[in-house]
Symmetry: C2
Subunit: 261 residues, 2 copies
């Protein structure tokens, strides 16, 4: 049974401050929770409906819980109760509470590192995580002003990729000043991505949806790269741009035109 206190606790985790105070976050819906069960995250509570446990996904889910080194608390409730604690419009299946990981930026990163400068929209951040996961990019460094990784909308939009891609929040000026690999930035007026040569280990800065890249970061940027336009749209969505640039990076590496030091 779901107690009033526990329901209140779970609902409170919709807020960033509460997540930080409690060191916990909420994962909603069967796809995301199944990915969570397969991940290194420590899971404290699972809340699900009986009908979910009885179907095929529920069986898979129970199996996954069984494979974990420890059992989370499992609470059964009815669909209405579940929806009352979920941020999703409809969630009749499952929700979990897991522990926030404390992170320190790895000193040496191989391959492409995405650097996010004040990405505001949770849907964009989630989609960028999904894109990074698709292209095998494990490290994303974000400015302190970037939307919170553990925001339910970010996790939802990432389609489970939040389990595989790390986001490290830090002061970007300080971070970039210590970076030894070339720093590129996506910009409206850079070199064409179709003629760009990436070094294998590099950083790519993606700027804020409205304001682009902060001026304070420009001194660290070695070259800027642009997705060549053929029509009249003013801009591309930042997650779309990230996807195209990651594909160009991978494509270049495949054709041997990424340079190695």
């Amino acid at each position: 049974m779901l107690s009033k206190n526990k329901a209140k606790f779970i609902r409170s985790l919709q807020l960033k401050k509460q997540r930080e105070d409690q060191g916990c976050f909420v994962v909603e819906g069967k796809k995301s929770v199944l990915e969570l069960l397969n991940s290194q995250f420590k899971i404290r509570i699972v809340v699900c409906t009986e009908s979910f446990l009885e179907n095929r996904d529920g069986a898979l889910f129970a199996q996954q819980i069984g494979l974990r080194p420890y059992f989370p608390e499992v609470i059964l409730c009815n669909p209405l109760e579940l929806e009352s604690i979920s941020s999703l419009k409809t969630n009749q299946t499952v929700l979990a509470v897991a522990e926030i990981k404390t992170q320190t930026i790895p000193k040496k990163v191989k391959g492409l590192t995405l650097v996010l400068d004040h990405i505001n929209d949770p849907g964009n951040l989630g989609t960028i995580l999904r894109v990074a996961d698709w292209f095998g990019i494990e490290t994303v460094v974000a400015s302190l002003g970037t939307t919170d990784f553990y925001n339910p909308k970010v996790l939802q939009a990432s389609m489970g990729s939040f389990c595989r891609v790390q986001v490290y929040y830090t002061d970007l000026e300080k971070y970039l000043s210590t970076v030894k690999i070339p720093i590129y930035a996506a910009s409206a007026k850079g070199e064409s991505a179709h003629h760009f040569t990436f070094e294998r280990d590099c950083c790519l800065i993606l700027g804020n949806e409205s304001h682009g890249i902060s001026e304070s970061l420009l001194p660290y940027v070695k070259r800027t790269v642009t997705i060549p336009p053929y029509g009249k749209a003013e801009s591309l969505n930042v997650a779309t741009a990230a996807a195209i640039l990651c594909d160009n990076y991978r494509r270049l590496a495949e054709f041997g035109t990424v340079t190695y030091r």
Copy 2:
């Protein structure tokens, strides 16, 4: 002043059936309305707040209205009234009612035609329009089950590109059976996009977000193309995939590896 009847009429256009019956649709927010004023759409009504008209955008907007061959009805109202007829959470600027264009698919299309097979999500359709506009693709053909072009969320996500990219709704089986150019399809198990050769004039089918491409369309598909994965994400968002494939098409054309008949 905004009459009750007019407010009711504008609100009713949130529904597809009403839009079809009335032959009208609503465009919301200053960016979209400014794009609309620059387009071929016939505009019937403009509703805006006084404070909007008094600022810089308002002046530009009044100038644009002046350049049109005829004047739409312009109604001033207060911010609360405007928000009550808008689907946006906050819209304190402007909204317009324009006439739906009747369309017939052009017989001969040059370049890449995107073919959408049951794209359900309005945000995805809008983003695909923005992508098509960026890559200079003018023609999008959509299945009858694809979400409505004139849905306010589609127009919003397109960031004004709905003014430049046409979507033709039709029975895709019938359409594809008449097409004389090669038909490709995006698929999870096709040839790598990095090694694909597009013909200059071609169709590219993008499938439904959950179910992919309808089986009934497969007989028309010449080759399938895949964005090579390097990580563990199960899939990419359909609009993201569209963007990467359009970029690959353009890139190939630029490097002379698109084949010409």
